[in-house]
């Protein structure tokens, strides 16, 4: 070793042996895993956040308008950058613009974009494109029984965490022989570990006791077997949380007979679709449950069951609860907790009044009446502006 390199080496080691770091030799580990602490996108331009808003189709635009109205009323420091995506366009320019806007702002609130499934496979689902391009790997839905909503089961409190980017939704299909179509379901170790880790971290943060992995490993031994193995691996690092697994068909049967037994559920894409929709139906339907899609760098909020509600569009009968609760999740994500809890409390107090229930809950109320009632509830709690 030359003198120069020895000096350079000692120079490199010196800070480790200085009196200021008495621990001695510390190995700096460069780990590839994702950040364990999340930081909200910084507020810019006078303490206000900019959030991408994609109205979507069906009831999306009217609900988006109500969200803007409510935020303005509450003086929430959020500005919406509206990006429209035309689902009738075959070119992908619109969705690419939307994706770029979300990359810019870091967060988005979106309505569902319709997919015409009679178009050829080259036209990919816009929602799916958004999720996979931005790598929004976790779709989280918190289904809770709400007071004032009559359902067949009570006391449900389930968090469903669904892998959002691979599995059956890889859109890899081909027709080798005419009349025989193969569709590929991809399960990878990295993504399975990632979603399992997300599930257990969420369970720990929220003080949940049990995580259930939903699978079909008795039939799809390699694919779902790999998913299950990854979940078990991650579970060993969280000894305070009970981990068990259940086959998807048994899960749906248990959900309709005794849903109270479930706590946190983690699963691959397709089963997640089924289970989260069943859970949403159990607590009162698509109008009540908000959904969130989290990635490493971005977050997109929408209604939990992702319906366009084409048949009830523009009739002022849609239930705004799901979208408004999604906007509360958005506010929590931006660390504007004061505004989030204020709006959430107002929504829950409105829901208990069955006279205001919209058609999906068996009532005759209108969307605008519900939103007005929420605004009245907020006004009655005191000054509109709140420090967070």
């Amino acid at each position: 070793m030359t003198t120069r390199s020895v000096r350079a080496l000692s120079g490199a080691l010196k800070p480790l042996f200085s009196p200021r770091s008495p621990q001695g030799y510390v190995v700096a580990v460069c780990h590839q895993t994702h950040k364990s602490t999340y930081t909200a996108p910084p507020a810019r331009y006078g303490g206000r956040h900019t959030v991408t808003l994609i109205p979507g189709d069906g009831i999306g635009p009217e609900l988006a308008k109500h969200v803007c109205e409510l935020f303005r009323f509450c003086c929430v420091p959020v500005d919406f950058e509206v990006v429209n995506v035309d689902s009738t366009e075959t070119s992908e320019d619109d969705i690419n613009n939307a994706i770029m806007a979300i990359r810019r702002n870091g967060v988005a609130l979106k309505g569902n974009i319709e997919t015409n499934h009679n178009l050829p496979p080259s036209y990919k689902s816009r929602n799916s494109l958004l999720r996979t391009t931005l790598d929004l790997y976790a779709s989280v839905m918190h289904c809770q029984s709400l007071p004032g909503v009559r359902t067949q089961h009570r006391n449900i409190d389930i968090i469903t965490i669904r892998e959002n980017t691979e599995g059956e939704y890889s859109s890899l299909e081909h027709e080798n022989v005419p009349g025989v179509v193969e569709s590929l379901k991809i399960i990878t170790r990295t993504k399975s570990l990632r979603i399992a880790d997300y599930a257990f971290r969420t369970a720990r943060e929220k003080g949940r006791r049990r995580v259930t992995a939903v699978h079909k490993a008795n039939i799809m031994k390699l694919g779902d077997g790999l998913f299950l193995e990854c979940c078990k691996e991650v579970a060993s690092g969280y000894p305070e949380i009970t981990f068990d697994s259940m086959i998807v068909d048994n899960t749906t049967m248990q959900l309709v007979s005794r849903p109270q037994q479930f706590d946190v559920m983690v699963m691959p894409n397709l089963y997640g679709n089924v289970v989260s929709n069943v859970c949403a139906g159990l607590v009162g339907g698509p109008g009540l449950v908000p959904g969130a899609n989290y990635g490493e760098n971005y977050a997109v909020f929408e209604t939990g069951t992702r319906n366009t509600g084409k048949s009830i569009a523009n009739r002022n009968t849609a239930n705004p609860t799901a979208m408004l609760l999604a906007s509360c999740l958005l506010l929590d994500h931006l660390k504007l907790h004061g505004y989030a809890s204020m709006i959430r409390k107002a929504i829950l107090s409105t829901i208990t009044d069955s006279r205001l229930h919209t058609a999906d809950l068996g009532g005759k109320g209108s969307t605008s009446e519900m939103v007005q009632s929420i605004m009245d509830a907020i006004q009655s709690t005191g000054p509109r502006t709140q420090r967070h």
Binding site: T115, E182, I186, T190, M220, L226, S257, V274, N277
Partner: protein, 347 residues
């Protein structure tokens, strides 16, 4: 045995009975007793289907079982134990492959007297049983990346769609709904959907609708009365049929039938073998009995079917003699005897 009564012209039909494992033998015996009380024109041929290794090293069902099924064309099966590490595939899979049982039919009807949070359920799930996600074709492409192949073919889709519409017509059902996820799986579910649409053209008397899988699940748990006949590929069928079974009370009261090519049909109970209560006269024969009723309808013996079903439902509604899983404390033999008594009274 095959004889004809000149005055009534009712021919006795042979049915292959596969008792199965665990509680299988006792519930099969219960069903046979009830059929005898109802004077149903059925003779039973009991067979065992434990897999044996045939010539060429391939696993197959015993030849006498196959021969009996090919002759009688109708089978009634109890629960079979799925062996782990016995070297051979599950018996259910073997039966499915041997007789090309392409349609799994599960009528889910709310049972009066067995209360669940859902009332007035009356729907039928028809599931494609041979391909789809359960083709069993999986590869590990590189370490940590697994690819499972879902296979959808034109022929299988057309066959199941035709069966669904035929079933709807023969059982006087008003609508058939195809369940799919063609927005995501455009080519595969798209092909399935196209075939369903084509077949629907020939059955203009039956209403045909299409619905996404997630929408069906969402609506099913809120209001199951809006559904009639549902037809779908393998995986969705698996999940939905169990979901619907859960709505009416579970696998202990749900009948099921498998329809094969060449006119073969095997009706079965879909619950497990319940080894913990096997041989203790505690089992509930309702699932197997209702499957047997489905079988009688399939064979055209509607009067006997209705009689046995009424007796069974009356017993459950009365709540006096019920097995433990239905909320009572009676033994299997007592429950069976009660149904037999009612069947004879109905004569």
């Amino acid at each position: 045995m095959f004889y004809m009564k000149a005055e009534t012209l009712i021919s006795v039909k042979t049915v292959t009975m596969i008792p199965g494992d665990g509680i299988g033998p006792e519930i099969s015996a219960a069903v046979m007793k009830i059929f005898e009380a109802a004077k149903a024109p059925i003779t039973w041929e009991e067979r065992n289907v434990t897999a044996i290794k045939g010539p060429g090293g391939r696993w197959m069902i015993p030849p006498d079982a196959k021969e009996s099924m090919d002759r009688s064309k109708i089978g009634l099966k109890g629960p079979l134990k799925t062996p782990i590490a016995a070297g051979h595939p599950s018996m259910n899979l073997l039966l499915r492959k041997t007789f090309d049982l392409y349609a799994n039919v599960r009528p889910c009807v709310s049972i009066e007297g067995y209360k669940t949070p859902y009332t007035d359920v009356n729907l039928v799930t028809i599931r494609e049983n041979t391909e789809g996600e359960y083709s069993g074709i999986e590869h590990m492409i590189v370490d940590g990346v697994v690819q499972s192949i879902k296979l959808i073919t034109e022929n299988a889709s057309r066959r199941i769609a035709e069966y669904a519409f035929e079933y709807a017509r023969n059982n006087k059902r008003t609508s058939v709904t195809a369940v799919h996820k063609a927005n995501i799986m455009r080519m595969s579910d798209g092909l399935f959907l196209r075939k369903c649409r084509e077949v629907a053209e020939n059955y203009k008397d039956i209403k045909f609708t299409e619905m996404y899988l997630d929408t069906v699940c969402l609506n099913m748990v809120q209001d199951p009365t809006q559904f009639d006949v549902l037809v779908m590929p393998n995986l969705y069928g698996d999940i939905l049929s169990d979901l619907c079974a859960g709505l009416i009370g579970g696998l202990g009261v749900t009948p099921s039938g498998n329809i094969g090519a060449n006119g073969v049909a095997i009706f079965e109970s879909v619950h497990g073998t319940a080894p913990d209560i096997a041989g203790m006269d505690l089992a509930n024969p309702t699932a197997l009995l209702l499957s047997a009723v489905m079988m009688l309808h399939h064979m055209g013996l509607h009067d006997h079917a209705d009689k046995i079903q009424t007796a069974c439902f009356d017993t459950i509604r009365d709540k006096k003699v019920l097995t433990k899983d239905l909320g009572g404390s009676a033994k299997c033999s007592e429950f069976t005897a009660e149904i037999c008594r009612r069947v004879q009274d109905l004569d």
